[in-house]
Subunit: 281 residues, 2 copies
């Protein structure tokens, strides 16, 4: 694809190389820049790229639906305030609700807990023709569950390979899996939490429990590091997305989603009838 | 609300009066104009009104979600090509997939058929805070099921009151129900079906079975007439929306959805904590 088609100045490989975690690579979050100014130096350009990408994504989603053979699953993970909802709005709003289904995974229900942890996740996998977005995901089962000790350590330990096998199953069955870890600094989180306290219209977003998780920051970073090392596979790599700037985060993710759909290259199906032989009374 | 706030020249009551079916009124489709040029005479104005309404709907949906006490269910019914998908795109695309969940009801699965006909419908009712859109609905169970004789006539006959009771249950439990019947002429359907045959990119939308339904046009009209007479209730009235012009259809429906949300008047919840007493470390 030409640079022009992508709608921005940097070539795609440079971008992807900067954020994709190679299989089995140790890629500690501590050494990763949550800003990455070199990726999209200019805000206005990033916003233009996002608009162009969002439009292209919408157009390709239509064909994906017409084809009805494959699906795209976009997994968004990140700590509180890292911008998971904002990414959905920024990247997928042009698609509208018809071709994109968002599933938010909160605290599991009694029924969900009475099944294995992938049960509720599998149910929410997008059907053929759709783009599914997971706001949090099965990775919570090796993140919050690990940090807060909600399952025995030995059980959590087995999950990394189980998750890899599950995602391999999906990709072998026509579901392309994209995984974005939204990477923000501890300082940026403080700012965003403070905004929620300062603006009465944002009070509902503030959960005093978020501060407990913030106090466990280093434990979460360690859990994310292990997840990135163990679950970034060739078939479903993790991409650590600098997310301190919302506009840059959106431009990066939309570029990857667009490129992925272009590579999937969906096509309108051929008619199983002869359109010329049909007369409408 | 002022005319200005609605973003168009006609007042809302005139519009609503023109399309809403009074309880138990006989309102045969045959006597209803699928164009209704007087409602939005000017295309450009209608498009401006739609844009303003879509933006207002998006903003109010955010508050509805923050409040998380009530839901809005929008039912779209109409024969093939009447524009159900197009309405979702036109009216709800600004909302994005985060706050709007679309459910398309096709031919029921084996599992669905092993339950009563409202089982799959109840499951898809939007949760508190969401707008749900039904592309087709439980009304198929008194339309295609009746016309094609897929259930005994006596059973279909009982369904009108069952549906009224079900919708009453929903409205009494915080789900506002809006029902739009998209009304197109037989001639307009011919044009739209022909477009699907002429454009290879639309072949996938054409189903030769649609012609069988078209041949049963008068039977469908009769089934719709009965549905409108029996199921337009005070708590969940039917609105017969002129749909020969897509832009007018969208402007009308967005005006009703906007007004409905304004009347629901969602509010940001009060914080259950003292924002000033919280310090973020």
């Amino acid at each position: 694809m030409s640079r022009q088609a992508l709608g921005w100045r940097m070539d795609y490989d440079t971008l992807d190389h900067a954020i994709r975690i190679a299989p089995k690579a140790k890629a500690p979050l501590k050494g990763r820049d949550p800003l990455c100014e070199h990726l999209f130096p200019d805000k206005q350009e990033a916003e233009e790229a996002l608009r162009a990408d969002a439009k292209a994504i919408d157009a390709m989603q239509d064909v994906l639906w017409a084809e009805r053979k494959r699906a795209l699953l976009v997994v968004l993970q990140g700590i509180d305030t890292s911008g998971k909802d904002g990414t959905v709005r920024g990247v997928f709003n042009s698609c509208g609700p018809l071709g994109v289904a968002v599933t938010a995974f909160g605290k599991p229900s009694e029924e969900e807990l009475s099944h294995d942890y992938l049960w509720r996740v599998h149910k929410a996998v997008p059907k053929r023709g759709m783009i599914g977005v997971f706001n949090r995901s099965h990775y919570e089962d090796v993140l919050v569950v690990k940090v807060r000790g909600l399952a025995p350590a030995a059980e959590v330990e087995r999950r990394y390979e189980q998750i890899n096998a599950f995602e391999k199953h999906l990709t072998e069955n026509g579901v392309t899996v994209l995984k974005f870890m939204l990477h923000i600094s501890k300082d940026e989180q403080r700012k965003r939490l403070q905004e929620r306290l300062d603006d009465p219209k944002k009070h509902w977003k503030f959960n005093p429990g978020d501060l407990e998780d913030r106090a466990l920051w280093d434990d979460y970073v360690a859990a994310y590091d292990t997840m990135l090392e163990r679950c970034s596979t060739a078939h479903a790599p993790w991409r650590v997305t600098p997310a301190d700037k919302k506009w840059r985060r959106n431009a990066i993710i939309s570029a990857v989603v667009r490129r992925t759909l272009e590579e999937m290259n969906p096509a309108y199906p051929k008619a199983e009838f002869d359109p010329k032989a049909i007369t409408i009374e």
